[in-house]
């Protein structure tokens, strides 16, 4: 093949190589700079372990909430046409493009002590601000749109005749949702969970503004990394490496678990 004919494939290859190098370089640098010894040492540091544990706990709860509420909501959006649907979809996607600081401000204005629902929350005895529960709220807010979007697309891609066939075979709408729509959309739902979980694990700004950064209560791994960054660059690097590794394992296992569904 002459260069004349090959220029476009070469261009595509060069673009991909550039993107891969640029995106992988900082991640590789974290591991190379930290080194295995520092990594192991950081795992002995109770503050680091606490931050990681808190990150896993809060993101797990947040993702559970996102999946349990978001999946049926996305199914409704994907399978029904109603007035104001397009507007609703846009509103639900808005948190995707909000700066984290704006998200934090919004949460304070809505759920903070002087916020819209602050009084009502206080009466029921629910405290969010500067609490672990507040971290979960912030994570749900920033992560939910990722899952909603992905799940909606996944359900929309399921052949509507499968659901109709299921109904004519005697299955109720709820059973059809559980037995046909979810299994058929599983790879897409898994991708949504992975994206949302990844976003939640890395959440920083909204959590900091809404829940603060208190060791053991609201200081998740990203906040702990930032906390160390000023005083202990190597320690921050080691914790970052652990967070990256944990995220990678999480994403891979979700992909593997949900990929099997369609064989």
């Amino acid at each position: 093949m002459s260069l004349r004919a090959a220029w476009f494939p070469l261009l595509l290859g060069a673009a991909l190589a550039l993107a891969a190098a640029f995106l992988a370089l900082p991640i590789a640098a974290i591991f190379l700079d930290a080194g295995p010894a520092r990594l192991l040492a950081s795992l002995d540091d109770p503050a680091a372990v606490e931050a990681l544990r808190l990150s896993l706990l809060t993101t797990s709860i947040a993702i559970a909430i996102v999946v349990v509420v978001g999946t049926p909501a996305a199914y409704l959006l994907a399978t029904r046409r109603f007035r104001g649907r397009a507007l609703l979809v846009t509103v639900l996607e808005l948190p995707l493009v909000l700066p984290p600081a704006v998200a934090g401000l919004g949460l304070l204005a809505a759920l903070g002590p002087h916020g819209l629902l602050g009084g009502a929350l206080e009466e029921t005895g629910i405290a969010l601000v500067l609490q672990t529960a507040g971290v979960v709220v912030a994570l749900v807010f920033v992560a939910a749109p990722f899952h909603l979007r992905q799940a909606q697309a996944a359900f929309a891609a399921v052949d509507p005749r499968w659901s109709e066939a299921s109904r004519t075979l005697g299955a109720s709408e709820a059973r059809t949702f559980a037995r046909v729509a979810i299994p058929a959309a599983l790879p897409g739902l898994g991708a949504g969970v992975a994206l949302a979980w990844g976003r939640a694990l890395g959440e920083f700004g909204a959590t900091l503004m809404f829940a603060g950064s208190f060791r053991g209560i609201t200081q998740t791994a990203p906040l702990a990394i930032y906390d160390r960054f000023a005083t202990d660059f190597d320690g921050a690097l080691a914790l970052a490496a652990v967070l990256v590794a944990a995220s990678l394992v999480l994403l891979l296992s979700i992909k593997l678990l949900t990929r099997d569904a369609l064989g």
């Binding site: 499968w162 066939a165 004519t168 005697g170 037995r179 058929a184």
Partner: protein
Amino acid sequence: MLSVEVATPLGGLELEAAFEVAPGRCLALAGPSGAGKTTLLRIVAGLLRPAQGRVRCGEALWLDRARGVDLAPERRGCGLVFQDYALFEHLNAWRNVAYGMRGTPRGERRARALALLDRFGVAHRADARPSRLSGGERQRVALARALAAEPRALLLDEPLAALDARTRAAALRELAALLRELAVPVVLVTHAFTEAALLAGEVAVVDAGRIVQRGAPAALAARPATSFVADLTGASVLSGTARAQPTPDVDAALTVVDLDGGGIVVATEPGAGAVAVAIQPWEVTLEPPGEDRHGSARNRLDVEVVSLAEMGNRVRVGLAAPQPLVAEVTRDAVAQLGLAPGARAVATWKAAATRVLPR
């Protein structure tokens, strides 16, 4: 007895149809795409709510808009085989079949599904995902799945359309045999009249949202009520104008039609003004060109052979008369007359075999 009565807007037209099917009988809804056939099936199955209508199956009232009755599809027990079968891609063949077996204990479902698949000759494919099945296998699994739910009525939407020509002939025979065994009302949708004629005891021709004619397939082919029905049954439909004045040398009791583009046709049926004449392909005889009139056939048109298509032991010969005309003859006749595209011949048929229909 499945009885259906529906009136609802459909795209730009009004779908208005009523029909009844007795248990063990099959009614074919035949017509072009967009006529509203599939919509009728969806209404019967409960997947679409019409503006007005009543659907009753035996003692059960499925739909009565006037009384606010509209049973959910899962409560109707109405089997529907979709045009492209809509098999669940995440389940293998036997689990697809077992999906609708609500009444069967969990432990017996696999055995029942296998028995059903065996009946359709695809038990060896029980563990395959639908994407691994051939078109014919998919169709059989879809039928088995619909029957596994023990439906009170069975609806088939173009059950053979997704199959290639070779598979279709065998699938058609199998489906015909199956339909003879079933004890529930069956409604079949097809755009092919031959399929309808082979599978159903009765055919309702649907055009633009209405049933334009209904009857036994042979009766429709012999006496189409409109040129549309004639065309659908596979007859050649030629357009022309019936002469108002008697023609010399022709019995005044016969209708003489001047065909658009040339040629005349004589028919025993009455007709006036702009008409269509319909002739079934098996009524048309081909002769070598230039021979004089002999025998009793009144109609003789000089034609040119355009195409030849073998259909089983017959050959469909496409002719330019100059309007398109089709003759069905034997392979021997093709050889004897040297029929080939471009060859000339004379097409003859009886005045009594000529339908005259208003245009």
